[in-house]
């Protein structure tokens, strides 16, 4: 008998949250309209009033709400993070997703009844790192970085006292999360402290006469696309650069591709994964509806012992390319 994994879905706005709930999410994750979460993007996220109404909507449908408070408060601003945690507790969210030790300690001490999930931003990639957060703060679930193979996840599951959540779809990054200052180096805003990555205000698209488009972040040109070439997110880690060993510009860090593990669902469940996470709080309701429905169906089919029908989600992927990334092999390293 297979354990029933939780399908955890992104919600960048209240409308997206309702869409995810209606499409069959077991849990949705979301954040406040400020630096306390790692998708502090313009026009995104929830006011306290919206969060209250959204928790009610989700709970009426039996769906959990996980509040991402997963950035690192700089000294002097801790109050904002404390406020997000207190608000979440008052509104009855089902768990906090945290990365900072200070925030974890506060949530565990002041709201001991509320579950703590360890964000991927905490970069806990070994049993020891994960056990540290479990031991110190009673963390109940870890969101694993996208760098482990299925056998590694299976081995890890036997060594930690908490649940495992893995990403199954969406943005595919290999940079260790919570340890990246690339945006801050160029833009003066920190991914860890401000919750921003390639802030749109600093992104510029410069069109050339031949139809190619150069992507500029602040003062630096991070990529150039030919007229018919697929594009990716305008982030430094997905750009093309020149290196002495290369004749032409190349993706020095990673190609613009999306993660899609629909084919690995049975193996992941068997390996002991407790929750599947879909990335994309910055994406639209249309994305949420398509991806959540597809994975709801695939998980249900898997649990019923059927081979999951592979959803055609390619149009929603970055660079319109998919990968199973690290989960299948280590060759990508």
């Amino acid at each position: 008998m297979m354990k029933r994994p939780e399908l955890v879905c992104p919600a960048g706005t209240p409308a997206a949250l309702r869409t995810a709930v209606d499409a069959g999410a077991d849990a949705v994750y979301c954040g406040m309209q400020n630096a306390t979460n790692a998708r502090n993007f313009p026009g995104l996220n929830f006011t306290p009033e919206e969060l209250q109404a959204s928790v009610a909507y989700a709970h009426d449908a039996g769906t959990k709400v996980l509040l991402a408070v997963n950035t690192f408060p700089p000294a002097g601003k801790f109050e904002l993070w404390r406020g997000a945690v207190d608000l979440g507790a008052r509104l009855g969210v089902d768990a906090f997703i945290v990365a900072d030790i200070g925030v974890a300690e506060y949530a565990a001490r002041v709201h001991p009844g509320c579950r703590l999930h360890l964000s991927v931003q905490a970069a806990a990639s070994s049993p020891e790192a994960i056990r540290y957060y479990c031991r110190e703060f009673g963390v109940r679930r870890v969101v694993l970085p996208r760098i482990l193979t299925v056998p590694e996840i299976r081995a890890l599951a036997a060594e930690i006292p908490c649940e495992i959540e893995t990403f199954i779809f969406g943005n595919h990054g290999l940079m260790i999360e919570g340890r990246c200052s690339l945006t801050n180096y160029v833009c003066g805003l920190s991914t860890n402290m401000d919750g921003v990555c390639s802030p749109a205000a600093d992104v510029h698209y410069d069109r050339a006469a031949d139809g190619s488009v150069a992507t500029r972040l602040g003062a630096f040109t991070i990529d150039r696309f030919g007229p018919a070439e697929q594009a990716g997110y305008p982030t430094i880690c997905k750009g093309r650069y020149l290196a002495p060993a290369r004749d032409e510009a190349y993706y020095a860090f990673e190609e613009p591709v999306s993660l899609n593990l629909s084919a690995l669902l049975p193996a992941l469940i068997e390996a002991g994964v407790d929750a599947f996470k879909i990335e994309g709080r910055q994406r639209s309701r249309a994305y949420v509806r398509s991806v959540v429905s597809a994975f709801r169906q695939a998980i249900d089919q898997t649990l019923a012992g059927e081979t999951p029908a592979l959803a055609d989600l390619i149009a929603l992927t970055e660079g319109q390319k998919e990968t199973e990334g690290a989960f299948k092999t280590k060759k990508w390293r």
Binding site: F72, G102, E105, Y185, V186, A243, F253
Partner: protein, 303 residues
């Protein structure tokens, strides 16, 4: 406590002989108080130098330096887990932890917290100090006002506090080796190609701008952090340790300039002139400290 000048771990893959020569000279000539030793970036590099540590430690200590042993920053594989566990059993020397796995082993016993750990606020600092952390090297991206508050907190806790004042800034770590990737290889078959670039492999933009450098799984700034002009302010706010990141240049000269400036023997403008005379092939930056884009430089003193 009087201000201490420290030399961070060598981040790049230098040959064993280069490292031996480097530390011999540091031991004899450089006015640094503390030297951090250890492979922080890539566990595959460790076998090349492991057998030399006892001699290097002995040599540095004979030169009057205090030696602190630094841990790996990324700990995932079995050998990496074993390495950090073994480091955490060392009692003969202080250790600097750069990955949370180390905290599991070392809580309750004295240790330092390295710059690749995320200590951004007083609550985190206080919690770690309560579990044995005696010293905090701050993340390179922290701006002045945040560092000032942390310095106050560290003083209240009786802990040391350290800021990188020279050298390329570590900007990102990855599970993938970008050095190997540039040469069409995988990490497992890297053939230690990173040894070709002792200060990092330059990445330029398509428009030809100098931008970043790659050091295996680590990405650093092209520019060199230089906080000579900020040292007086840092001392006033209670920062008592100043870190130099080793590069392939006359690090003894760099150490002398910073030591003279910290001791107030020379003015900032004179120190800047001496540093400029070393002809470092990259611009200086201090943007992170001033809360703006890290690669920028503000308030440069007239030469």
């Amino acid at each position: 406590m009087t201000a201490q000048l420290t030399l961070g771990p060598i981040l790049f893959h230098w040959s064993a002989q280069d490292k031996l020569d480097f530390y011999a000279r540091i031991a004899d000539e450089a006015p640094v108080d503390i030297v951090y030793l250890g492979e922080v970036v890539c566990s595959k590099r460790t076998p090349f130098f492991e057998q030399h540590y006892p001699d290097v430690i002995e040599r540095l200590e004979r030169g009057g330096k205090r030696v602190v042993l630094s841990s790996l920053s990324d700990v995932t594989l079995k050998r990496e887990r074993d390495m950090i566990a073994a480091l955490c059993e060392i009692e003969s020397h202080e250790i600097e932890i750069n990955n949370t796995a180390g905290l599991l082993h070392r809580s309750g016993r004295a240790h330092r917290i390295g710059p690749l750990m995320n200590v951004y606020n007083e609550c985190t600092m206080r919690y770690l100090a309560g579990k044995g952390a005696t010293h905090f090297a701050l993340p390179v991206e922290l701006p002045r006002d945040v560092a000032a508050r942390l310095a106050t907190e560290a003083a209240a806790l009786g802990a040391g506090i350290e800021v990188q004042v020279f050298g390329r800034a570590s900007l990102a770590l990855s599970a993938r080796c970008y050095h190997a990737r540039a040469h069409g290889r995988s990490k497992d078959n890297c053939q230690f190609v990173c040894e070709q670039d002792p200060d990092g492999m330059p990445l330029r933009t398509i428009a030809g701008q100098d931008f970043l450098v790659v050091n295996g799984v680590q990405t650093l700034s092209h520019s060199y952090v230089n906080l000579l002009g900020e040292i007086e302010d840092m001392q006033a706010m209670g920062i008592d340790h100043f870190r130099l990141v080793p590069h392939k240049l006359d690090m003894v000269a760099v150490a002398e300039i910073f030591a003279d400036r910290i001791a107030g023997r020379i003015e900032a403008s004179e120190a800047e002139a001496w540093l400029a005379a070393l002809d470092i092939p990259a611009p200086f930056s201090n943007g992170f400290w001033h809360g703006i884009a890290g690669g920028r430089r503000v308030g440069a003193l007239p030469a």
